[in-house]
């Protein structure tokens, strides 16, 4: 953290954005997450190389809203497929084949099924990106050198300083009390290459 302070001195005063606390094992991470959760701090997150079982409860997260988006996609696909087949084969260009009815539901079920799955999958995938606010190519945590190991074998908790109820000092104290292996300050306009 010291190199960030030193690099920040010469030019315009950079803003302190938050703290990054490093953990080496999940047991400490769990207790730290529970501590932050119980402190009432809002803009914070845990970063793990893989989905850690039970961390959602330790962080007090609400269930994902994604199933609703997927369902909406599926219903759209189903309706669209039915409407398309009916309009194309029975209204716009009626086909009479082997004396079969111009429109009958059973023959249209395979395409209805496929489009239901397709649009539900689109809803799931793009909904996941939207809910997670991705793609987002720059984020303050990326300025940390240590953070590169968040996708390898190290766990982090990041505290952002946008919470009005917690000043920089309170956040600093909270970050220090979590029992992490290191605490790093995250500054705006860090000149370390992003």
């Amino acid at each position: 953290m010291s190199e960030h302070v030193a690099a920040a001195e010469p030019t315009s005063a950079p803003r302190l954005l938050g703290f990054l606390v490093e953990f080496r094992d999940t047991a400490t991470l769990f207790s730290a997450c529970e501590k932050v959760r119980d402190s009432g701090y809002r803009n914070w997150d845990a970063h793990t190389p893989y989905p850690v079982h039970g961390l959602n409860d330790a962080m007090g997260l609400k269930p994902s809203r994604l199933p609703y988006i997927a369902f909406l996609g599926g219903v759209t696909g189903l309706g669209l497929a039915l409407l398309m087949q009916w309009w194309m084969n029975a209204i716009d260009y009626p086909y009479l084949i082997s004396g079969k009815p111009i429109f009958s539901l059973p023959a249209n079920i395979p395409v209805m099924f496929e489009l239901t799955v397709l649009l539900a999958a689109f809803g799931t995938f793009f909904g996941m990106l939207a809910v997670n606010r991705l793609p987002r190519f720059h984020h303050p945590v990326f300025t940390s050198e240590r953070f590169a190991r968040a996708t390898d074998d190290t766990y982090f908790i990041s505290l952002e300083l946008s919470d009005p109820e917690f000043g920089a000092q309170a956040a600093r104290e909270l970050a220090g009390s979590l029992g992490g292996a290191s605490v790093e300050e995250i500054w705006e306009d860090d000149d370390a290459e992003a």
Partner: protein, 498 residues
């Protein structure tokens, strides 16, 4: 060097013991989280691929050029260059299409169905099985597109507005196929890419050079492993798995409708959808085993794709092979029980007629060969696994050949009977499609995260938050005695650190 010995064990670790109440260790050799990252990233980060890769890649590209040449020849000359004629108007193109689509099914089975069943061993093999799915479906898609003859109007397959004010016939199973295969490819691609996002982020964060960091940075979409993101990500993964499961069953069912809704004896059977799906999983698993064995031996992934994984796949091959064998038998029973002389003739003709050679190759490869997997020694022998998987690959191609060609070559009117023979263009196009498949697969092995690192890490025993509560019975502690003395020795030598 200790680390090298960790990655390339001289002997296989026997983690295949079946003990009730105990589960085998899924990752062997004492690998920790960072080791997984390192072993998997190594091939992609190496400045140059190994020589063996170049040899395989150049051979594959050669075959790929052959494929393009054959397709060009076909387009400029016409479908007369193939062996198809009346009455056998569906030849290699449809056989190859069904073969390649079937291969793809194992990837989705591993990534989606085994995920829903909480089969944690899937994490070591799901990434390249999914890649295999996508490449196989690409190979499959080529054949219906080129077999239409006038490829410049191939877009008429899709419901697009055109100058004739004409729409496709939605009551045709061939059109259902367009939607089924198109949806399958798209959903498989989304699933594959979404699964890779955390691993692409790992590559980005490890990147030694700027170009590599920018490329993987763009592909990783700014993933930062945040638990608020994981929450939605895992939900999305579950939803996609839930969507892909009925989808994969529907795709080969729809492919089988191409045959089953026709009036032709040998095709017009209600057993086709489940029979095709079982056959697809069977053939696909054989291809996964083939590729898994090559990948683990060549890329040093023996501790990640362990004997336990291979044994499980052998069991799936045995089970689905029995299902396929049952379907072969049941087809004969139905033909006899129906009392329809044409139907009965078709099946007797399959086994004893001019294509009996193809039929018995199919039976030998698909029903007889997998029976060795009743024996544990056979399931644990890498060479036997590889040989049987190759037999099944061949046998499943012949299954489609038997279905398509024998039924057509002996139709209702004996005066129009004929013997279908493929031309050299047919054979070279099939060979060329393997070039496309292996070129894409080798590029994937070279550049992409071959193993789902984040998923493997999440099933490792060391990271299980409550591991000590399970010991000694329970998750991942049931290796054969002595199998992990190497690990214990190294842990002692390193002072207990990973």
């Amino acid at each position: 060097m200790a680390t090298e010995r960790l990655e390339f064990p001289s002997t296989e670790v026997l983690n295949t013991a079946d003990k009730p109440g105990q589960r085998p260790r899924l990752i062997t050799g004492g690998l920790g989280l960072h080791d997984i990252t390192r072993v998997v990233s190594r091939l992609s980060e190496a400045p140059a691929p190994p020589r063996g890769w170049w040899i395989l890649f150049l051979a594959s590209v050669g075959l790929l050029i052959l494929l393009f040449a054959m397709i060009g020849y076909l387009i400029f000359t016409g479908v007369g260059v193939w062996g198809v004629n009346t009455p056998v108007s569906w030849g290699f193109a449809i056989v190859n299409f069904v073969f390649w689509v079937g291969i793809g099914h194992a990837g989705t089975l591993i990534s989606a169905i085994l995920f829903l069943f909480r089969q944690k061993w899937r994490t070591s093999i799901n990434r390249f099985a999914e890649a295999m799915t996508i490449f196989a479906v690409m190979c499959a898609g080529i054949f219906p597109a080129i077999h239409v003859g006038r490829i410049w109007v191939v877009h008429w397959l899709f419901p697009l507005p055109n100058q004739m004010h004409l729409w496709p016939n939605f009551r045709s199973p061939l059109l259902w196929d367009v939607f089924a295969v198109g949806t399958y490819f798209t959903v498989s691609l989304l699933f594959w890419y979404m699964g890779m996002i955390p691993d692409l982020a790992t590559f980005r964060d490890r990147a030694p050079g700027k170009i590599r960091r920018v490329i993987f940075g763009l592909l990783a979409l700014g993933w930062r492993g945040s638990n608020r993101q994981w929450l939605n990500y895992e939900k999305a993964y579950l939803l996609l798995a839930g969507l892909a499961t009925p989808l994969v069953l529907s795709v080969h069912s729809v492919v089988s409708f191409d045959f089953a809704t026709s009036q032709l004896p040998g095709w017009h059977t209600s057993i086709f959808p489940p029979y095709f799906v079982a056959g697809a999983i069977f053939g696909g698993f054989a291809m996964v085993v083939t590729l898994a064995i090559l990948a683990r031996q060549v890329l040093g992934l023996r501790n990640i794709i362990t004997l336990h994984h291979l044994e499980n796949m052998a069991k799936v091959i045995l089970a689905t092979g029995m299902m396929v064998g049952y379907a072969y038998g049941m087809e004969f029973f139905t033909a006899w029980y129906s009392g329809n002389p044409t139907e009965a003739f078709t099946f007797v003709n399959r086994a004893l007629g001019p294509y009996a050679w193809a039929y018995w190759i199919m039976i030998g490869c698909n029903v007889v060969a997998p029976q060795v997997f009743w024996f544990k020694k056979a399931r644990n022998s890498i060479w036997l696994l590889f040989i049987v998987a190759m037999f099944v690959n061949v046998g499943m191609w012949f299954e489609r050949f038997v279905i398509v060609v024998t039924s057509l070559s002996r139709d209702f009117l004996p005066s129009s009977w004929s013997y279908y023979m493929p031309t050299s263009v047919d054979l070279l196009t099939l060979l060329g499609s393997f070039g496309l498949f292996f070129t894409l697969f080798l590029l994937f092995l070279r550049y992409a995260p071959v193993v789902a690192m984040a998923e493997v890490k999440s099933v490792m025993e060391d990271v299980h938050p409550h591991a000590e509560e399970h010991e000694p019975l329970g998750d991942y502690w049931g290796d054969e005695p002595g199998a992990h003395t190497e690990r214990e020795r190294l842990l002692r030598a390193n002072g207990g650190a990973q």
